[in-house]
Amino acid sequence: MSHLLELHGVTKTFGAVAALAGADLVLDAGSIHALVGENGAGKSTLVKIIGGLHGRDGGEFLLDGEAVDFKSTADAKHHGIAVIYQEPTLFPDLTVAENIFVGRQPYTRLGFVNRAEMRRATLELTSRLGVVIDPDREARGLSIADQQIIEIAKAISLNAKVVIMDEPTAALSGIEVERLMGIARQLRDEGKGIIFISHRFDEVFELCDTITVMRDGQYIATNAIADVTVDEIIKQMVGRSVENLFPKQEATIGEVVLDVAHLTRAGVFEDVSFQVRAGEIVCLAGLVGAGRSEIARAVFGVDKYESGTVTLDGATVPRHKPSAAMELGMGFVPEDRRKQGLAMTAGVQTNITLAIRNQVAKAGFITSKLEQGPADLWARRLQVKTRALDTHAVMLSGGNQQKVVLAKWLATNPKLLIIDEPTRGIDVGTKSEVHRLISELAGTGVAVLMISSELPEVLGMADRVLVVREGRLTGNLSRADATAETVMYAATHAANEEVAK
């Protein structure tokens, strides 16, 4: 009997980076198949290949036993493949019903788009999914959960055989997660094949029947859920013991550098208070969407906040003014290095000196010569691999790009460095190099506030773990107390409670 979907030895490179180096996946009808792996393991790239967004460089791709080669997303859709992304991309100006039927609206006999039919079909779909959404309202302003429901409704109406959910629960509350899991089971029982990507093992083990692990763009193993434990899966995902990965140095912890008090932004985070000391690495842990990055962005001043104070080395940091925060000694390595960390089509030198442009200037004037010194120095210190200082950042590998971003901020000589997802999407070798760098940095007395979605990284690096759940701090764990269990408990605790109610 042939499988619903089969991929064997799929490869894909982007520029110099091999995103997939032999990925396998076998999906059966009537199954919910978990796809897990660390960030950067290649899950999203695999999904994009299945969904027709990227072409593959090599490998086999069979659908219902027949070789397929999708030229576009429309092509994949036509073959019965639907992808629901973590952040759905709807058309905000179109109505809910139109979003479901875009590009294939039904016609009346007179050649008019049949709105009544679209409305009826939408109501049928949403009621089948057990939700109430007005089909005539525009999609702008819908919650992420409702947007996902619309995507699922679309998948159903397309009569999709394969439904891929890429971290669908990341931004959902407890009740919404339950609802989504109910829908997934319903689809399974109707004979569809579902690929479920998630970092939350409790969900994976509750919902899925099969699990495939990927690491560094490669297939590792596929097992029936009943045959494996969480520990085994983690071991397969990480592929090495945590201690070797994170060469944390002991650092003397000094005075308080960053003092955040009662920081509040309505609907995003509330009453957040914490301190970071010199030489200390504090990690903000929690689920994606819990508000970790938002807190960090507000502290640095990129985002606004309504009340609370941020103090750095005794000086009040003004609200919503990154330049002032930088002057006081704060640095920020953002989450999305391509959009927020780097100017991709500018040279290494330009990137490294962007944050120190005021310091580099002599009597107010900057020349390329003046920039060269610090650029060269910091590129060397971080061992950035580049052909020249004017090579565009886009030409570098992900790991080297991240080093350039780190160089840019280390050059500012910060007292506090905020690092959001320091190793997202970079290769293993560079990963441990980045960890060593952060550790050394703390050793020199810099206070580090780190955000990471990778639990092993959090546990390996942090002196203290602050857990964020739905915009509130729910845990403050010392290095000794922080374990996978305690952190996950604090990160999901209230969500479970809500379900129990």
Binding site: Q340, A343, L354
Partner: protein, 339 residues
């Protein structure tokens, strides 16, 4: 321990960096056109008084000054197509104020301030209200031109003191270089230094490359854009005053279509319409290129009408070339880094 070596500053050899860039290609093109014209067009070097090199420069100066702040705006990825209209309003208000008895210098200063205020309105609508600069400046293009035409009506003011107007038209003694060129050179140095040799200029390019990255690097994106729109308004208004004196004529239609010529020069000079890359020198050379082509056409007796077609087509061709070139270089980048 790794051996610490210093990085190479540049990836490509000097000759390629110098010669294979829009500025260099345009300079060659200008030289080529002049040489071909000298050979092919009789009287090119000794044309009738209307077509001397001095008039070439005099005709080119308004656009050359106008494009200076506009280059900075385009480098941030925004656009200002109201500059021609601001020039017109400044010309009209300058004429009216002068006619009403306001001393000439004060009338000039007031007109320039009005231009700055309009630039501030543009900047406010783009940064604080958050509207696209294209939509805002299209509206202001109509509005400001409308005011310029409205306040002056069908009349024009021509009674400027002849000693002032002839001075504005005159050249530095003993040279064919008009005094207006001095104004241009001073402003070009100011804007050139601002864009290429200050932290502010680094911020301007950063905004064009990625406004998020710029914001994360402490660039005040809104303030930078606001300042640039004000500078653009002030400069356009200054050109309005000079233009009025140069031709001794204040009418509301002065500077009609100048935004197109300025944008053409800038894009032709290699400044990306998407923002982030380019040089002020390139934009200036682009302006000179258009002026040179115009002069040859005029000496040949092809009228002003053809210039519309040529400028419009030049704009299209230059962006198409830039677009195709970027596609090719992206492809090459992907293939070279994949191997």
């Amino acid at each position: 321990m790794t051996v610490e070596t210093t990085y190479r500053r540049h990836d490509r050899p000097l000759w390629r960096r110098l010669l294979l860039r829009p500025e260099a290609i345009l300079i060659f093109a200008i030289i080529l056109i002049v040489v071909l014209s000298i050979i092919g067009i009789p009287n090119y070097l000794r044309p009738n008084p209307g077509y001397t090199f001095t008039t070439l420069l005099l005709n080119a100066v308004p656009i050359l000054i106008l494009l200076l702040p506009l280059t900075l705006i385009i480098a941030t990825g925004e656009i200002d197509i109201s500059v021609g209209s601001i020039l017109g309003l400044s010309s009209a208000s300058f004429g009216l104020l002068f006619e009403a008895g306001v001393p000439l210098p004060l009338a000039a200063v007031l007109s320039v301030i009005i231009g700055g205020l309009i630039g501030a309105v543009n900047g406010f609508l783009v940064t604080i209200v958050g509207l696209p600069s294209l939509a805002v400046t299209i509206g202001m293009l109509a509005l400001v031109r409308g005011i310029a035409v409205g306040i002056l009506g069908t009349t024009s003011v021509t009674s400027f003191p002849p000693e002032v107007t002839s001075f504005v038209r005159s050249s530095i003694p003993g040279t064919p270089v008009p005094w207006l060129i001095v104004v241009f050179v001073v402003l070009a140095i100011v804007f050139g230094v601002l864009l290429h040799f200050t932290a502010f200029g680094r911020g301007v390019f950063a905004i064009g490359l990625s406004s998020e990255t710029a914001a994360f690097s402490g660039v005040n994106v809104n303030r930078t854009k606001f300042i640039l729109f004000v500078l653009s308004g002030l400069t356009a208004a200054l050109v309005g005053v000079l233009f009025t004196l140069q031709y001794s004529n204040a009418i509301g239609s002065n500077g009609n279509g100048f935004e197109l010529r300025a944008i053409t020069a800038i894009v032709l000079g290699g400044v990306s319409i998407w923002g982030g890359t380019g040089t002020l020198l390139g934009a200036i050379v682009g302006g000179l290129f258009i002026a040179t082509v115009n002069k040859s056409l005029q000496v040949l007796g092809i009228g002003d009408d053809a210039i519309y077609v040529i400028t419009g087509s030049a704009l299209i061709v230059s962006v198409v070339i830039a677009s195709v070139a970027s596609v090719i270089s992206t492809r090459r980048r992907v293939t070279t880094s994949a191997t």
